[in-house]
Amino acid sequence: MLLEAQNLSVGYGGAPAITDISIAIDAGEIVAVIGPNGAGKSTLVNCIAGLLRPQAGRLRFAGGDLAAVAAHRICGQGIALVPEGRRLFAGMSVQENLEIGAYRRGARQMQLEGIERVYALFPMLRLRRQQMAGTLSGGQQQMVAIGRALMARPRLLLLDEPSLGLAPSVVEEVFEVVRAIHAQGIAILLVEQNVALALAIADRAYVLEEGRIVAAGVPAALLAQSRIREAYLGL
C-alpha cells in the first residue's frame, strides 16, 4: 500500500472531526472520498498533507510513519495537495505559483522541465504566466492549483473538491486532466461533492459521514446500495 491510515483520529482543539478512520490507497489508484458537508473529508486530506496532525491512530506513506515527519517535509515524501478553494498565492504570478510547487529539494532541479509539462497540460496558462494568480478565473485558478501540485512530482496527489464553484464545461475539463494525471501512474485521493463524477472516475471509494467511514468499496458495489444512491445521487 502507498498510503495507509489506521484508526486515524483528527480534531480541532477538543472537537474531533474524524474518528477511527482506516483507509488505504495503492500506487497508481484513484480513490474517492464522498460524503456530505462537514463529514470530515477535508480534515482527512489536510491531515495527510501535514496541515493537521493526527491525534490518534497511524498514518503510513510508502512504509514510513507520516506522523513523525515535520509538516514541511511531507511534500518531500511524494505527497502534493490541491486544496479546497485552490488557495493560490494570489499576489504572485502564475509562473511563481508553479515555482513554489517545485520548492522541495527533489523537485527544484527539474523545475524548468516541470513548468514545461504543466504548460503542455494547460496551454492557456503559458499565455498568462506573468499574470497575478488572483486575477484568473475560477477554472484557470484550479488549473494553476493542479499544476502547482504536479510541480512537486508527487506519487500521491490529494485533490480536495476540484469541481467546487466551476462551470460544468470547466468541470469536465478538470476531470479530463485528472484522468491524464492518473494515466501517468500518479495515485489520486479525490474528495468531491459531485458524487456521480467521482464514482465514474474512481477505482474505489469511501463514504464518510460525521467523521466516520460508513461504507467502502468499488463504485458499482456502492451504487448497488439503495441508501447511498438515495442520499448522494437522489435516485
Binding site: H72, F89, Y103
Partner: protein
C-alpha cells in the same frame, strides 16, 4: 517667496533625509508585511545602534564601519532571538505592537541610564565634508546614507522578487499552511527575515550616528514619520519604503523652507491621511 536656490537646497536635503527615513522604514515594512509583526522596537534598536557607533568611536576609536559590522552581526542575532520569543508565545500582530513598545521603552531608559539624556554628537573627519554643485551643498555623509538606503532597498526588492527564498517568503506571507505543504520551512525563513530586519535597524543606526545629533527621546520623533513612510510605501515593499521616505523627506524639507520648521511634522501625517482618503492606485 523664498529664493530658488533655497528651494533647490531644500529639495536635495529632503531627498537625502528621505533616504534615511526609507532605511529606517525598510526593516519595519518587511516584518510588518511579511511576518505580520509590527516592531515598534525597531526605532529604539536603531537609536541603540547609533549610540553604540558613537560610543565605540569616541571611547575606543573604533571606526564607524567596523562598529557597523559588529552591530549588524549582533543585531541579526537579536532579531532571531526576538522572533523566537514571538513564536514561543504565539504573539499576534496586535500583541507584537505592545511587546515591542515595551522593548522601545526599556531601550530608551537603558540608553538614558548609560549615556544620560544629554545631546551627543559624533565628530568624525567627514562630519562637515560636502561637495558643491553650483550654488548647492551636498553633505557627504547624508549622500552616503542615501546611497546605502537605495542599494539595500533595491537589493532587498530583487531578493524578494527573484530569489527562491524571497519567493518562498512571499508565499508564506500569503498562505503559510499551504506554503508549508509545499515544503517551505516557514519557521526557519521567518527567523532569517527577523534577523535581517534587525540588522537593517543596525545599519540605519550607524548612519544616524554619523548624521544626526543623538538624544534618547529621538525614538519617539521617528515613529510617526516612519510609520507614515511604511504605510505610504505599502507593507513589505522595499522600493515603496524608499519612495515613501523620499516623498515625506522632500515634503518636510519644502515645508521648512517655505513655511516654518515647526510645521514639518504635520506634513507626514497630513500626507498619510490624504493618501489613505484618496487611495491612488499605487497604494
Amino acid at each position: 517667496m523664498p529664493h530658488l536656490t533655497l528651494l533647490e537646497q531644500a529639495l536635495i536635503s529632503g531627498i537625502l533625509a528621505g533616504g534615511l527615513y526609507g532605511l529606517l522604514a525598510l526593516g519595519l515594512s518587511l516584518s510588518w508585511g511579511l511576518l505580520r509583526l509590527v516592531n515598534l522596537g525597531h526605532f529604539a534598536m536603531a537609536l541603540l545602534a547609533a549610540y553604540l557607533t558613537w560610543y565605540l568611536g569616541t571611547a575606543f576609536a573604533i571606526a564607524p564601519w567596523w562598529a557597523g559590522v559588529a552591530i549588524v552581526v549582533a543585531f541579526f542575532v537579536y532579531g532571531v532571538a526576538l522572533h523566537w520569543v514571538f513564536m514561543r508565545f504565539r504573539v499576534t500582530e496586535m500583541g507584537s505592537m505592545l511587546i515591542t513598545f515595551g522593548i522601545a521603552v526599556i531601550v530608551e531608559s537603558t540608553i538614558q541610564t548609560i549615556w544620560t539624556a544629554d545631546f551627543r554628537r559624533y565628530e568624525t573627519a567627514l562630519a562637515g565634508a560636502s561637495f558643491v554643485v553650483g550654488a548647492l551643498y551636498v553633505p557627504m555623509l547624508n549622500l552616503a546614507a542615501f546611497v546605502v538606503a537605495a542599494l539595500l532597498a533595491v537589493l532587498t526588492w530583487a531578493w524578494l522578487r527573484f530569489a527562491t527564498i524571497g519567493k518562498a517568503l512571499r508565499a508564506c506571507a500569503e498562505d503559510a499552511p499551504i506554503a508549508t505543504a509545499f515544503g517551505i520551512n516557514h519557521r526557519a525563513l521567518s527567523f532569517l527575515l527577523s534577523g535581517i530586519c534587525a540588522a537593517y535597524a543596525g545599519i540605519a543606526g550607524v548612519f544616524i550616528a554619523l548624521i544626526a545629533t543623538l538624544a534618547p527621546s529621538e525614538i519617539w520623533t521617528w515613529i510617526g514619520v516612519v510609520f507614515a513612510v511604511v504605510i505610504i510605501g505599502r507593507l513589505g515593499n522595499p522600493i515603496g519604503a524608499l519612495a515613501g521616505g523620499i516623498l515625506i523627506g522632500v515634503c518636510e524639507a519644502m515645508t521648512m523652507a517655505v513655511a516654518d520648521p515647526a510645521w514639518a511634522p504635520l506634513v507626514s501625517f497630513s500626507l498619510l491621511i490624504a493618501l489613505l482618503l484618496f487611495r491612488p492606485r499605487w497604494i
